[in-house]
């Protein structure tokens, strides 16, 4: 028989076992294939913008694709995370897992990591399709442009112009931030699900927080600075705005692609700070999720 051995307080191996199993569980849910398919359809559909100039075509293609990526990663994050705990509780697999020497923190981390892996797979797939579509369109436009009779230097300039309006390196940080925003939403949803009574409740609360989070900067700016024109809001309103600014994340800070598509550059320092903020939210939400989960009666 086993002699009592020293227990490893923190084991990446266990977290990985739970994470990879969670990924497998999520990938097996067919509803998410439909969502990916839908994303692919939308990206494909922006091919049919042929009556417009190439700048317009590419801009619409990028806007629609990145918009679809944002909404799908977000939906995936919320829907997938909301059902993880309820499913494990309902199937009693949670009991069998926690009856093993698995600290609850590791369980929470493993589940979150599983969702983050799923989101990474999803956004990588979508980015790949997006790049392929964009590249194919670029080649078509380049071929059309090359057929035009023009002096060689003007033609070269025109071709360079086409290339400049397709993929630009600033899209990469933009897509990373889309991922991070979805990851923050996943951590938030996991936190809610540790005390929620049903996954519907979890989803609703998470969606509401998402929308309020986009209005948060308005509240924050009113709170930090007095109203423009010197008018002071009522004390009640002031407290309310302060609470919104305090509790909710500023999701606007994670919307960079809209401006990147139209040519904004992302300075490295700004990217790192934005990413840092996202990681901060993920850590703090995970910590609070753990606090609730550690004291949860199963």
């Amino acid at each position: 028989m086993n002699a009592p051995t020293a227990h490893r307080a923190f084991s990446p191996g266990r977290i990985w076992a739970i994470a990879s199993n969670t990924l497998l569980e999520l990938v097996r849910l067919k509803v998410f294939y439909f969502m990916l398919l839908f994303a692919l359809l939308i990206i494909g559909s922006s091919l049919f913008m042929v009556n417009f100039t190439f700048q317009q075509q590419f801009q619409v293609l990028k806007d629609v694709s990145l918009g679809a990526m944002s909404i799908f990663t977000w939906l995936l994050a919320v829907l997938a995370t909301a059902m993880l705990l309820p499913n494990d509780i309902e199937d009693r697999t949670l009991y069998t897992i926690l009856a093993k020497p698995v600290p609850r923190l590791e369980y929470i981390l493993g589940k979150l990591l599983g969702v983050l892996l799923l989101l990474a797979v999803a956004i990588t797939l979508m980015t790949a399709v997006f790049c392929i579509v964009l590249y194919a369109r670029e080649q078509m436009v380049l071929a059309e442009t090359a057929r035009v009779e023009a002096p060689s230097d003007e033609l070269a300039a025109a071709l360079a112009n086409v290339k400049a309006s397709t993929f630009n390196a600033n899209l990469i940080p933009g897509i990373l931030i889309i991922y991070l925003k979805a990851a923050v939403c996943a951590a938030l949803t996991l936190l809610i699900s540790t005390f929620a009574s049903s996954s519907i409740f979890t989803i609703i609360v998470s969606v509401v927080v998402y929308f309020i989070g986009h209005l948060q900067p308005i509240a924050r700016e009113y709170w930090l600075a007095a109203l423009p024109g010197g008018a002071d809001p009522s004390p009640f309103l002031k407290v309310l705005l302060g609470l919104v600014a305090l509790v909710f994340p500023d999701f606007q800070l994670f919307n960079l692609v809209d401006d990147i598509v139209v040519g904004n550059a992302v300075p490295l320092a700004m990217f790192l700070k934005t990413a840092g903020l996202g990681l901060g939210y993920i850590s703090i939400y995970t910590l609070v999720a753990y606090l609730f989960f550690a004291n949860k009666e199963l």
Binding site: M1, N2, P4, T5, H7, R8, S11, G13, R14, W16, A17, I18, N21, L24, E25, R28, D91, R92, T93, Y95, T96, I97, L98, A99, K100, P101, V102, P103, N295, E297, L298
Partner: protein
């Protein structure tokens, strides 16, 4: 002397009812010990506090007061789970995993290394008789197979204690018999078993000791035969005894101031009969 497999001291668990001032007392001042090597039956009707007690022992629920230990380690500590395997009532495992993958997953959770894990998985699958279903998805398992893979996962890290919650609920008689035999087999190997059940016939067959919970209170506790034997009676079962012999026996009994309370043909149990006609008996 080694620590008992389970030791419960003055355990009380109160569940508050949300939005109400009242609360439910699920377990009240419960104390009991399960000695190492025993098969202990915890009995009681639904809602008597069996499940709560079990969950507290496993650290799934925190006690309101009192404490529980597994081989001397407090249930609230993660390490205490190294020595216990748990089979919940009506367990489902991840449907998309095969039997092998399921055991592999639980082996990883227990920190077993690759080679050891594979060996252990194979060993357990053969122990519970699922070698032929090892590579089938759990989604296609029957109730009895689920229960057996559940037992195997509970044993994956070779714990010294098994906690089984209604291990035969919903399983057909043949499967039920197999599980019973497995439990006896574990006992032979020195594994302590805490069995929660309301199927008294089964408990009677395999348990050394039982505790009866009623409304959160331990109302009776002790060795099974002591609890249920009727002190001044003896049962004789005779074979090929002629009526003359029987008459003589009765005379002998009367001479010793004894009394024949009942005379009847012994019957097999319906379970044994069922197993015999369906070929389940060895």
């Amino acid at each position: 002397m080694s620590a008992p497999a389970i030791s419960i001291r003055n355990l009380t668990k109160v569940f508050p009812i949300p939005f109400k001032r009242e609360s439910v007392v699920a377990v009240k001042e419960l104390s009991l010990e399960v000695e190492s090597g025993q098969v202990y039956g915890l009995l009681g009707p639904n809602g008597s506090g069996k499940s709560t007690t079990m969950k507290i022992v496993l650290g799934l629920v925190a006690p309101s007061s009192g404490s529980t230990e597994i081989f001397g380690r407090d249930s609230r500590r993660v390490e205490s789970r190294e020595d216990v395997g748990f089979l919940p009532e009506n367990p489902y495992f991840y449907k998309y995993l095969t039997g092998t993958e399921t055991l592999d997953f639980y082996g990883k959770l227990c920190g077993l290394g690759g080679k050891k894990r594979r060996e252990r998985t194979r060993e357990l699958l053969s122990l519970v008789g699922l070698e032929n279903a090892a590579d089938r998805r759990i989604g296609g398992y029957s109730k009895g197979m689920l229960q057996r893979i559940g037992l195997a996962q509970a044993l994956v890290q070779e714990p010294r204690l098994l906690v089984l919650d209604e291990p035969t609920a919903g399983v057909d008689p043949a499967g039920s018999r197999e599980i019973r035999d497995l439990i006896l087999d574990f006992k032979m190997r020195g594994i302590t078993v805490l069995l929660c059940s309301h199927l008294l016939g089964q408990v009677q067959e395999i348990c050394d000791r039982v505790g009866i919970l009623h409304r959160g209170v331990l109302v009776r506790e002790g060795r099974l035969e002591e609890l249920i034997s009727i002190g001044n009676q003896t049962e004789l079962i005779l074979e090929n005894a002629s009526p003359d012999v029987l008459a003589e026996v009765e005379q002998v009994i009367a001479r010793g101031h004894g009394r024949v309370v009942e005379k009847r043909k012994p019957q097999t149990t319906l379970e044994r009969y069922f197993l015999k006609v369906t070929g389940g008996e060895e």
